[in-house]
Symmetry: C2
Subunit: 470 residues, 2 copies
């Protein structure tokens, strides 16, 4: 998996397109090696496949121009946001032009009465929320990285509070995108609901740059909750913690976040942050609502947790105390990495029906131990999504190969449980082999038919998502 075959390159088309683009863009067409490698290289463990050039796009019209030029010469185009994708989405296996959207980062409109905002794709999620602070509104989707919202849309990102507020798919009302023909598509009106034609919004969201280049997004916003309460407690086993999660969801408790740290993750954060949490699975919750509402929810959770053998229950609405309770979660990634200094952290991303979650996590822990991996687990358990962080010495080819074997084994286990190999990271290059195993040949046929219909020259992000390369 770490080593990928390059695809055939259209050398003469690329050379001609570069000439035409250089005349058009001058020094804004950048071809320095470091910049090109930075635009192929991401946080992934996959091999770097740099584009031939990078353009920092300034406007929708300019993106249309670039696309038309590349289409004329059948040259690949790869959109680039913040470069935080995990599955090789921005690699250029057939070369081509990387369009970097980071300078298209304007917030075009905020409509407080409609609770939406219109933005350019280069705006990051943190920048948006800083901008919104005075309006009493926020955008809820929170992947780990401060990703660009265009990139988050392209991979259908989510994060810790999807259990309450949904994924990118649930929080984009409309978008505009440039098609492979250079034509502009507006997918929907700004209304809250629509039954007007094919849902192009949600087709382009999660399509990983293979159907359209997003140049504008209309995002649904939420009210900053009046009160926030946090609660944590330890469980005797992953099974007990997961059973408590199921009970919480069935009860209808409107949790905003419900996160799991396994015992190894707890050991890691104890060491990293000087905490002394019991070395057993930990659940961390957050409730959003009125002061009375969140107090009631935290109390109900305490009762449910106790039924499943929880200990060390703590809950608070005070911000400082909340941050202290959640410190273990905030530090989990870096604490995990610190378990093995110098190692690279490789994250799996399976998501299973919540009834299968305990079984899936427990089997993953046992397999990782059996294979000799240091592999802490954190999970967005309300959705059945968890990440095993494999700590790998990338210089050890045998170890990398074993890690690939583990990832494949876990993907297949999740698929066998009627789950998915990717809850929120996407397919990209890294999971191409698993899409057909997960959904069967009909889905691949239909995806390929859509791709052929929309991008007959296959110039938009070729070599991704198990789509045909021909």
């Amino acid at each position: 998996m770490a080593h990928l075959a390059a695809l055939p390159r259209n050398e003469s088309g690329i050379a001609t397109a570069l000439d035409v683009l250089r005349q058009r863009l001058g020094l804004r067409l950048e071809t320095g090696q470091a910049l090109r490698e930075q635009h192929g290289h991401t946080t992934t463990w996959l091999v770097n496949q740099p584009p031939d050039a990078v353009v920092f796009a300034q406007s929708t019209a300019e993106v249309q121009d670039i696309v038309r030029i590349c289409a004329d010469h059948q040259v690949p185009i790869i959109p680039f946001g913040a470069g935080t994708s995990l599955e090789g989405h921005v690699n250029a296996p057939a070369g081509g032009i990387s369009i970097d959207f980071s300078q298209m980062n304007k917030i075009l409109a905020v409509h407080p009465e409609d609770m939406d905002a219109v933005i350019q794709p280069g705006v990051t999620r943190k920048a948006l929320n800083v901008h919104l602070r005075d309006t009493g509104l926020f955008f809820p989707v929170d992947p780990g990285a401060d990703a660009s919202l265009g990139g988050m849309a392209a991979t259908n990102a989510s994060g810790t509070n999807a259990v309450r507020y949904g994924t990118m798919k649930d929080n984009i009302l409309s978008l505009t995108a440039v098609l492979p023909s250079g034509e502009l598509v507006k997918t929907a009106a700004r209304a809250r609901k629509t039954s007007a034609g094919y849902d192009l919004t949600r087709l382009i969201v999660g399509s990983e740059g293979t159907l359209g280049l997003i140049t504008e997004l209309t995002l649904r916003l939420r009210g900053i909750p009046e009160a926030v309460s946090a609660a944590t407690c330890s469980f005797p086993s992953v099974q007990a913690a997961c059973d408590a999660v199921i009970a919480v969801i069935q009860y209808g408790l409107p949790v905003a976040r419900i996160e799991l740290l396994d015992a190894l993750s707890v050991r890691a954060v104890n060491a990293y942050s000087g905490l002394s949490l019991p070395l057993s699975p930990l659940l961390l919750l957050e409730f959003h609502g009125s002061p009375g509402g969140v107090a009631e929810q935290a109390a109900v959770f305490g009762d449910i947790a106790a039924e499943f053998g929880a200990t060390g229950y703590a809950a608070t609405t005070r911000e400082e105390e909340r941050n202290r309770l959640w410190q273990a979660r905030h530090d989990a990634y870096w604490a995990g990495l610190a378990l093995r200094p110098g190692a690279k952290g490789i994250s799996t991303d399976v998501c299973v029906p919540v009834s299968r979650l305990a079984d899936c996590v427990t089997q993953a822990q046992a397999k990782a131990a059996e294979m000799g991996f240091m592999a802490p687990v954190v999970g967005h358990v309300g959705d059945g999504n968890f990440h095993v962080l494999l700590l790998i010495d990338m210089a050890d080819a045998a170890e990398v190969a074993r890690a690939e074997a583990f990832v494949g084994w876990l993907n297949d286990l999740a698929i066998a449980m009627d789950g998915t190999c990717t809850g929120e990271h996407g397919i990209g290059q890294g999971k191409s082999a698993y899409l057909g195993r997960e959904l069967g040949p009909g889905a691949l046929t239909m995806m390929a038919a859509i791709k052929r219909g929309v991008d007959p020259l296959n110039i938009f992000n070729p070599g991704k998502m198990a789509l045909p390369n021909g």
Copy 2:
């Protein structure tokens, strides 16, 4: 609009396919005129365009067989659920075979721990909820009719509690469908979240039978709330009522339902049901949650409503009282029809950003009055979606023409307000002319490209949704 041109018929292909299907299905291929007309005729005001034959499908494999036979002879196929669509979705403008899914009505599995159910498309929403009652779970999407869930998926239906629980799009985890090639597609795993490839689920949902014939649905279920509270009050104007709605949503009150009746609707229900509500706009709300939670929410709503001049505020958690408070809403459709006995009720379906709602409703009322229509208004106002019920004498061609003019004027008004011509009914035949006006040429190009890629012979429900007929 009421009169539609027929499309060219493939007479020899239809004749041959009927022969082959008759050999395969015997008496189960029905060609009686009344049945055929019933399968073209729906609750729409559009002209009846019956199919050449009707098949009551028994299984997914049988649907695949029928599709393959029709594909071999390039014969149209039109899926039929309960026949409650409003925009001519089941008409057969080029003839062909209507596949009736009403006998594929099994509930295949209920997974209480995962809060989902796997069903066949002919199950109606009421039948599903009766089946679920003992589990403590329910399926929330509630269009007016007791529609089939397959049909609700095909049109992306919603209803009164979409403001809390979303539309069909938000409540379908996965589906299986037969493609125009006869191949079966499974769109997603049963996990709560996925980023695995194109979102075929939401592409097929709302595609009105033009891309795939749905043969199985995995639905997300919700917990029946512990407590339910209802509240109503009257407002001095539509503007005041809509301002209260905006305030409620901005406050973050998790209303389960928030419905508007305009003064004419109130007059109609007073007459129909012997009530004596003030003849001014009425809001009706429902809250779902814990006993303490719903009491708090109803009280907060009372305070907000008072700020906008509300009178006659009443709230209760007792079921009998709730039904009494909501009687006006439950009776609104029939009460509206009773305003003009013998008239046909034609419903518009625009949806606008909620900040434009008061303006849109007020202009619609004024225009209807100016054009001499009796036209009560009800609205799912939390989403900005409302229905004007035009009461029309279908025997009066001039009046029908004026009604068409009103519908077109209102669709264009909503589009000018960055809204949609259809919040929940779909495009079908009736709104074909408005899709391009709403979204522009790029969206039509992309929809046509998808359609051509997936259904190159154009045999799935041709002549709908502004897709090319060639």
